[in-house]
């Protein structure tokens, strides 16, 4: 897309320099116009990604309608203020009607190993939260571990540092941000949705205490990407708003609406000769859930845990004539928002979920994938697997 215009401009430029070498007038103008256009073209980056899905449950005892959805349609805008300063934003339309901003931050590249960043940013935890373009993962839908345990797309407002330390093959991220809305008159966290509904997403977020997010990515071994992430902090609560700083009793009451979150995530990606393996393990320790549940009537677990392993293979990898990958994959997931609960709450089996997804993705062009898969899902409370067929279009540009 941009190459075409560059070529036209270059052609004009080359024709221009072929003109009489002595007259500076038209030659200088041509060069400036071309340079200006090239410069402004290089200042604005336009991109996007989208996911259109078809989900059809099958094999059950009763009839069920299928669902079709423009699940996500996201525009990416990047503007280069100078060689070191960029602004990046992602504007998302979900289910056609809901508009969100997924990212909106300023990046100041002090050195390649030290960037300062501020604004609405993605929390670094797991693979999908940062790499959520649908043409980059297998399966029509994102892994549910990255929905219920890591509440993707998880983004909050804050500031911090990030950088790539080339000699160590390390990338690091360290941010201070606002935390989850745990309580705003009613509880936002639960056993069925975990931390998901606590996301503030930069929409008039409030903060009662800052949270810390950190991640290290290592890619020193050819084909292997390893990530280790941590997230620490208390959930936010409106119960603190307005209480007298000397009122100890009110403070104790407000404290009971706060949960302490300590999350640790390990992820790995390995690619070799047409094979692609992925694995992720995320554990969240939630403190004070006994008080929280009593104070708010919710059913939050004290430990949430999720993991998955996935194996994929491009069946056309060895076929020289075909450059369009056809990836066949299988993924096993388990996630439990009631992995541990604090008395008197009893762990609810239906929150212990196991899913097996298998299917294929055909990349008809770089960034454009046609997907189809079948999912088998069950909870610890049932014996049977519920089945669902999915098909979808996934693009990124």
């Amino acid at each position: 897309m941009k190459r075409f215009y560059s070529m036209i401009l270059a052609a004009i430029f080359m024709a221009g320099t072929g003109l009489a070498q002595n007259s500076n007038g038209p030659q200088v103008e041509l060069k400036n116009a071309a340079q200006h256009l090239i410069e402004s073209e290089q200042k604005l980056t336009l991109g996007g990604y989208a996911q259109v899905d078809f989900n059809q449950p099958f094999g059950g005892e009763s009839r069920e309608n299928g669902m079709l959805d423009v699940h996500r349609m996201v525009m990416l805008l990047g503007y280069k203020f100078s060689d070191r300063v960029d602004f990046i934003t992602e504007i998302e339309y979900e289910h056609v009607k809901e508009v969100y901003v997924e990212q909106a931050f300023l990046n100041y590249r002090i050195k390649p190993f030290l960037n300062f960043r501020a604004g609405l940013m993605l929390i670094p935890m797991g693979i999908i939260n940062e790499f959520h373009e649908p043409s980059t993962f297998n399966g029509v839908e994102r892994p549910n571990v990255d929905s219920k345990i890591v509440p993707t797309t998880w983004r909050e407002i804050g500031f911090g540092f990030t950088g790539h330390v080339a000699p160590l093959h390390l990338k690091y991220q360290l941010y201070l941000l606002n935390g989850f809305n745990g309580y705003d008159g009613s509880p936002r966290l639960s056993g069925s949705n975990g931390l998901r509904k606590g996301r503030q997403k930069g929409a008039e977020s409030f903060i009662s205490s800052p949270n810390l997010a950190a991640k290290i990515d290592y890619n020193g071994i050819r084909g292997l990407n390893l990530g280790l992430a941590g997230y620490f902090g208390n959930t936010q609560s409106t119960a603190f708003d307005g209480i007298d700083k000397d009122d100890a009793a009110a403070e104790v009451t407000a404290d009971s609406t706060v949960i302490g979150v300590s999350m640790l995530g390990l992820d790995a990606r390995y690619g070799i000769k047409g094979f692609a393996l992925r694995g992720q393990y995320v554990m969240g320790m939630l403190s004070n859930t006994d008080q929280y549940n009593v104070a708010t009537g919710s059913d939050v677990g004290s430990k949430i845990l999720g993991y998955y392993m996935e194996l994929a293979y491009n069946v056309f990898h060895e076929v020289a004539q075909i450059n369009k990958p056809l990836n066949v994959f299988v993924r096993y997931e388990n996630y439990n928002t009631h992995n541990k609960v604090e008395a008197p709450l009893l762990a609810n089996d239906k929150y212990d979920r196991t899913e097996i997804t298998t299917g294929l993705g055909f990349e008809v062009a770089p960034g454009a994938v046609l997907k189809a898969d079948v999912q088998f899902m069950k909870t610890a409370a049932t014996d049977e697997y519920a089945k669902q067929f999915n098909a979808g279009v996934a693009i990124m540009f």
């Binding site: 560059s6 270059a10 990047g78 960029d86 790499f131 050819r222 084909g223 990606r269 690619g271």
Partner: protein, 163 residues
């Protein structure tokens, strides 16, 4: 001595600015140990991408150097390809990588895959060139850039194309 000043104005497609040239300078001197390096731009109508230079030590042609700019997901990066006098790739370096994502393409071990490729050869990303998870766009971009450079080298190498 590098004769870069006037030659900057003849760069087409890629903005070969001072910082990029300084880094290219270092790489060239490291690669051609012991030589005194002079760069002469190669100018031809069909070259649309990057800045092409003959690398000479006095009268001896050491090879060619191409400085090009390609795009990752969020930002551009500048890279250098050094070839033998016959146009075969002898070294690839990423000079300036700006984005947070995709830095894996700067690793020597990944860039080594391009060494030895002949003029006219079309390297295919994710087949003969290993795919990198998380850097797909940058990796594809640089692979395509090098493919174009090899295409140009077919007509450039072995001939005298002095400006």
């Amino acid at each position: 001595m590098l004769m870069m000043g006037l030659l900057l104005t003849f760069s087409v497609g890629a903005q070969t600015d001072a910082a990029v040239l300084r880094k290219a300078n270092k790489v060239l001197y490291r690669h051609f140990e012991g030589a005194t390096i002079q760069l002469f731009p190669v100018v031809a109508e069909k070259i649309q991408n990057g800045s092409y230079y003959q690398v000479k030590d006095g009268e001896r042609l050491l090879g060619y150097a191409v400085i090009d700019r390609a795009k990752g997901r969020y930002d551009y990066f500048d890279y250098l390809v050094i070839t033998s006098p016959m146009g075969e790739v002898s070294r690839v370096d990423v000079l300036i990588y700006r984005s947070m994502h995709g830095g894996e393409i700067t690793h020597r071990s990944w860039l080594k895959q391009f060494i030895g490729l002949q003029p006219g050869h079309v390297p295919i990303y994710s087949k003969e060139i290993d795919a990198i998870s998380g850097s797909t766009l940058s990796a594809r971009s640089i692979t395509a850039g090098i493919a174009e450079i090899l295409r140009q080298m077919k007509s450039i190498s072995g001939r005298e194309f002095l400006q």
